[in-house]
């Protein structure tokens, strides 16, 4: 019961914060709302008893991705803080089309899929040892290949971004 009430509170908070990301007129505020929204999603994982996923969400999205967004804003933004920008640009109709289309597709997919375990009441707990076994033993090669791909992308990005004198 208490969990259900908390679930609704967090769901409402996520919706409000996400609306803040879209409707806020200052890009800094958008970024900060985004952190709150992603942290709310992390809290949702705790309700689903996936603490590991929740912590990964906090670490990757809260601590890394949004910090990179804020860092990019710090380095590039010429306006004064609190500067308000107009919300709509020339791409407005396309944005509407893409947004509505994505929503329709997602709804269709979610309602059309038979989710495993949707008929049982209690949540199945997945132990962390099972996750690591799957990741490092059963699917070890894809994991290593994906990490190598990320490393190559990282080195490539550094080489592209780095310009030394005389190059």
């Amino acid at each position: 019961m208490a969990t259900e009430v908390l679930w609704w509170i967090f769901a409402a908070a996520i919706v409000v914060l996400s609306a803040g990301v879209v409707f806020s007129r200052s890009i800094i505020h958008s970024a900060i709302f985004l952190i709150g929204s992603l942290a709310g999603v992390g809290a949702m994982y705790i309700f689903l008893q996936m603490e590991f996923l929740a912590l990964v969400q906090f670490l990757i999205y809260g601590g890394a991705v949004t910090v990179l967004i804020l860092l990019a804003l710090m380095l590039t933004r010429p306006d004064a803080p609190g500067h308000r920008q107009s919300l709509n640009g020339t791409q407005q109709p396309f944005a509407l089309l893409v947004g509505a289309g994505l929503m329709v597709i997602l709804f269709a997919v979610i309602t059309g899929t038979t989710w495993p375990g949707s008929d049982i009441e209690s949540l199945t707990e997945v132990p962390l040892t099972l996750v690591s076994q799957r990741l490092f033993e059963d699917f070890g090669a894809p994991f290593v290949i994906a990490s190598a791909l990320l490393l190559v992308a990282l080195v490539g990005a550094i080489i592209l971004a780095r310009q030394e004198e005389g190059e």
Partner: protein
């Protein structure tokens, strides 16, 4: 998320949780107050001064006087500041630090929550600390604050990687101790596993990397470039005054204490070494406190001894020295654990690595610069005056 063994006095679990949170908050407040006093005293002794002496016997109530003064000060908000970002930033900095304190075991079964993923929880939540600092830097409407925020973000993102890998090394070697070949991330269990010997003996290199990265995450000297007074006036909190400024100080000292307790649990055996899991809780609590306080004195000692690094030295030290060393430590652990070689080998290899790291640090510290200061400015593209 698990409870610790049984609720205090048989109370319902939520009342028990509230009591535990209140106890931790009280302990944190007192520790932070006396840390500011302790820092002034210790640093004063290192610099052949006396430190606070006037307020109370030996200056003991100086911290309370300071807190009183800060609360009474006017709370100034610059007109140029982004109002909500500016006002919420101190809280956004403090909340993660406070949440970390909730997962730390101070004695056997003593803490707010006994998390199965405690080790991972601590560094996942500490990563959120940057957000508040960047909010302060962006919201103040001040170039120095912005510079401090950028420096803090760059530094904390970089040093988080060696920090996490050094903790991962400890999580790896717990698998040899738990008995079922599966390691643990539970801080309480990690402390209990070190009943016979602390993990710093098995992993001196990981401990050195952890301590260095910890100094950097805490913005303590020699890594205090985000708050460097002589360069950018005070960094991201330059526009804050009164109660909001003291929130930043509170979170800085609270995270210093939190990190020290965390480090003493992971590397020094926490409450379990050397008195064992069966000792009285007061002995265990005292053990944790003594270990964490010696950590803190070590931080003060480093602060008074080593001069501040430049930002390019700081970054190259992280990416070219600490990161490779931590990866080497992880690989060595992996090989030794995979073949079930004796644990003395862990000590040996890691000790050799630690000696190498110390040698590298000394070599970098004593080497003569290849260019003079003007030459350095020319390379960096700045106009030489």
């Amino acid at each position: 998320m698990m409870l610790f063994a049984d609720p205090l006095f048989g109370l319902p679990s939520w009342t028990d949780a509230i009591i535990r949170v209140v106890l931790v908050v009280l302990a944190m407040t007192i520790v932070v107050m006396y840390l500011t006093y302790g820092e002034r005293k210790v640093v004063a002794r290192f610099q052949q001064r006396l430190g606070p002496t006037e307020t109370g016997p030996g200056g003991l109530i100086q911290a309370f006087a300071d807190a009183f003064k800060l609360v009474l000060k006017e709370d100034i908000r610059p007109t140029n500041a982004d109002r909500w970002v500016f006002e919420l930033a101190p809280y956004a900095t403090f909340v993660p630090v406070f949440m970390v304190l909730l997962a730390l075991p101070f004695a056997h079964d003593w803490g707010v929550r006994d998390l199965g993923l405690g080790l991972f929880y601590v560094f996942a939540i500490l990563g959120l600390n940057i957000v508040g600092i960047m909010m302060a830097g962006l919201g103040s409407g001040n170039k120095y604050a912005l510079l401090g925020g950028i420096r803090a973000a760059a530094q904390m993102i970089s040093y988080e990687i060696p920090l996490v890998i050094s903790l991962l090394c400890v999580a790896m070697i717990t698998s040899a101790d738990t008995g079922n070949e599966i390691g643990t991330l539970n801080l309480n269990v990690i402390a209990a596993l070190q009943e016979d010997r602390p993990y710093v003996l098995l992993q001196p290199l990981a401990f050195l990397i952890f301590f260095t990265a910890m100094l950097s995450e805490l913005h303590r000297a020699p890594f205090d470039i985000p708050v460097a007074e002589s360069e950018i006036v005070g960094g991201y909190f330059v526009e804050y005054s009164g109660i909001r400024w003291s929130m930043f100080q509170l979170s800085e000292y609270a995270s210093m204490w939190g990190f020290s307790v965390f480090g003493s649990v992971v590397f020094l055996g926490g409450w379990a070494f050397p008195f064992g899991a069966d000792a009285h809780w007061s002995v265990q609590l005292a053990t944790t406190m003594v270990k964490s306080l010696s950590f803190i004195v070590l931080i003060f000692w480093v602060r008074t001894t080593v001069p501040r690094l430049r930002i390019d030295q700081l970054m190259s030290f992280c990416w070219k020295v600490l990161l490779p060393m931590s990866i080497v430590q992880m690989l060595m652990n992996g090989v030794i654990l995979a073949y079930d070689w004796p644990q003395e080998l862990l000590t040996l290899t890691s000790g050799a690595g630690a000696a190498l790291l110390v040698a590298i640090i000394i070599k970098r510290a004593v080497r003569r610069p290849s260019k003079d200061l003007v030459g350095t400015y020319k390379t960096l593209g700045a106009p030489a005056q």
